[in-house]
């Protein structure tokens, strides 16, 4: 089985009144069965309320299944003995940058996790140094978190998680409260961690540009998995994504609109380069001699 596996996962939020009687049951996850391979960069997309954040919390045993099972590296999260092992293997980064930083200075916060694990002092320092390097925040190690930008805070949070040497990192909308530059910072950091350290990454988000480089994109709606494939496959279904209250990058949308109006462009254009590759030859035909093709763009003639 993959590093993360869920089987017929169901989760209900139960609201009780003062006498502990059930007032309202809201089904947030409605039968999700997924198998995620180690080392992959997987994105989970969904509008607010689709169940994606609730799903993320299942993976760290912050919430336990109402029905069904969640296995992290073969361990059933609902078994009490497994709790701390599960949390050691799965690191979580949350949405609010401030509300997950405990230390008064950066390096102390990164050391918080290893301290909890009872790691010897010398080893803690080794891990803190390596983690700060891996997210590019080593220069800020003595700074107070209050002096950092949102993107920097999230990178510190990621370092804090990395210092626990997890097998996979789950990031629950880590960029929702950041400005565009901060978002780019965080996604770049996470992508590099996945590439260099081979750590499995699960990125939960509703920003489409962030998932272009993912290995696999899963779309959730109403507590269910409704789309599952490569970024190209998912982004070619523009209308379906919009029906799930999601958006596509402007480049993809433009390609789709052109395609709708008869221009011969393949599905799932994700980047500017791909769009140019497909459009420039057509313009070269239309305006011979005027249009230069870029590098690597095939000449239509």
């Amino acid at each position: 089985m993959g590093i993360i596996k869920t089987s017929k996962l169901i989760f209900d939020y139960i609201r009780r009144d003062e006498e502990e009687n059930i007032e309202e049951i809201k089904r947030a996850i409605d039968g999700v069965s997924l198998d995620i391979k180690a080392g992959q960069f997987v994105a989970i997309l969904g509008h607010n309320g689709s169940g994606k954040s609730t799903f993320a919390k299942q993976l760290d045993a912050i919430l336990l299944p109402t029905e069904g099972t969640v296995w992290i590296q073969g361990m059933d999260t609902s078994v009490e003995e497994n709790l701390w092992e599960v949390r050691k293997k799965t690191g979580m980064v949350f949405q609010n940058p401030d509300n997950q930083i405990i230390g008064n200075i950066v390096e102390e916060d990164v050391g918080f996790g290893p301290e909890n694990l009872g790691v010897p002092t010398e080893e803690i320092w080794k891990r803190v140094n390596e983690s700060l390097e891996s997210v590019g925040m080593a220069a800020f190690r003595l700074k107070s978190p209050n002096r950092l930008s949102g993107g920097q805070k999230q990178r510190v949070a990621i370092a804090g998680v990395m210092a626990m040497r997890p097998q996979c990192i789950v990031l629950d909308e880590p960029t929702a409260m950041l400005d565009p530059n901060g978002r780019k910072e965080v996604v770049k950091t996470v992508r590099e961690l996945n590439r260099k350290e081979g750590i499995t990454v699960l990125l939960i988000t509703h920003y489409m540009e962030e998932v272009i480089d993912a290995d696999r994109v899963i779309v959730m709606d109403n507590g269910k998995v409704v789309m599952d494939g490569t970024p190209k496959e998912i982004f070619s279904k523009v209308e379906e994504l919009k029906s799930y209250r999601l958006d596509v990058p402007q480049v993809t949308e433009l390609a789709y609109e052109l395609q709708k109006n008869g221009v011969d462009i393949p599905d799932g254009i994700l980047t500017l380069e791909e769009l140019m590759e497909n459009l420039l030859p057509k313009f070269a035909e239309r305006f011979p001699g005027k249009v230069t093709l870029g590098n690597g763009v095939k000449d239509g003639n």
Partner: protein
């Protein structure tokens, strides 16, 4: 911008004082405070002044940071000094209407003033040379024996550390909420005491809710990083006494003895 003004701001520099164990500095500060209340003649105060100035030099923190804390007590200082100056019975040196300036008054007022100033500056040295984490670690270690009688020393220390971390954040949030409510016409200035208290509700309710939300998020984040209380935790920066601490303890004890001695003899 309020973020920049943190409580007892730490001034990062590698001085002898910075390198001392926080427990040593806690002890030193305590000794100094006690000495200020024991001292009651000019010689004792001179020794105290010497002790204070040496500490300031050793800390390598610019003097202007030391006196920043004094701004907060300017009012208190003025009141206690003037009270003692004019309301102490004794041999009058100067008369201004019904206000009597006495020799005893001058003596007590100056001692009182100096004491207050030294108290603030002395404590500032502590907070300027010790990070909040070191402080709470120091308290946790030195009060560790209380664990045996059931006092949750680690938990309290963790709470203090987290509180210190979030104070600037909550201060900024208070400012934001105040402005948001003022944009809706809220008035935090006019009215009698009861009015003002009522007017605080649009400020306090959102603030509390926000604080609770942060606390919930933080608890979740801590658990996600395998926090389960003090059992089995190791320390990234364990407190270990060094030679300089021994010397510092000795110096403090000698100082205290000197002050006490002067008091007993004088």
């Amino acid at each position: 911008m309020l973020k920049d003004i943190t409580l007892g701001q730490y001034y990062p520099v590698d001085s002898k004082l910075h390198r001392l164990d926080p427990r040593t500095k806690l002890f030193g500060t305590m000794v100094f405070i006690i000495s200020l209340f024991i001292a009651n003649d000019i010689w004792a105060y001179l020794i105290a002044t010497f002790f204070l100035i040496s500490s300031i030099r050793l800390s390598q923190v610019p003097f202007k940071f030391m006196v920043r804390g004094l701004k907060a007590i300017v009012f208190l200082l003025l009141i206690s000094v003037s009270f003692n100056l004019f309301l102490t019975p004794g041999e009058p040196i100067f008369r201004l209407g019904f206000l009597k300036l006495t020799r005893e008054g001058v003596k007590i007022a100056s001692f009182m003033g100096v004491r207050l100033i030294y108290l603030v500056v002395g404590s500032s040295i502590m907070t300027l040379t010790t990070t909040p984490n070191q402080l709470t670690d120091g308290l946790e270690k030195s009060l560790g024996f209380l664990k045996k009688v059931g006092v949750p020393v680690h938990e309290v220390s963790m709470m203090m550390s987290i509180a210190l971390r979030f104070i600037p954040i909550l201060v900024e949030e208070t400012d934001k909420i105040m402005k948001a409510q003022m944009a809706r016409g809220a008035d935090f200035e006019t009215g009698n005491l009861i009015q003002k208290a009522k007017n605080m509700i649009p400020l306090l309710v959102p603030l509390f809710i926000s604080a609770f939300r942060r606390a919930t998020d933080l608890a979740m984040a801590m658990e996600a990083r395998c926090y389960r209380g003090g059992e089995g935790r190791t320390k990234m920066k364990p407190l270990r006494y060094g030679k300089q601490d021994g010397i510092a303890y000795l110096v403090c004890l000698v100082y205290l003895a000197a002050i006490a001695g002067l008091r007993i003899m004088g």
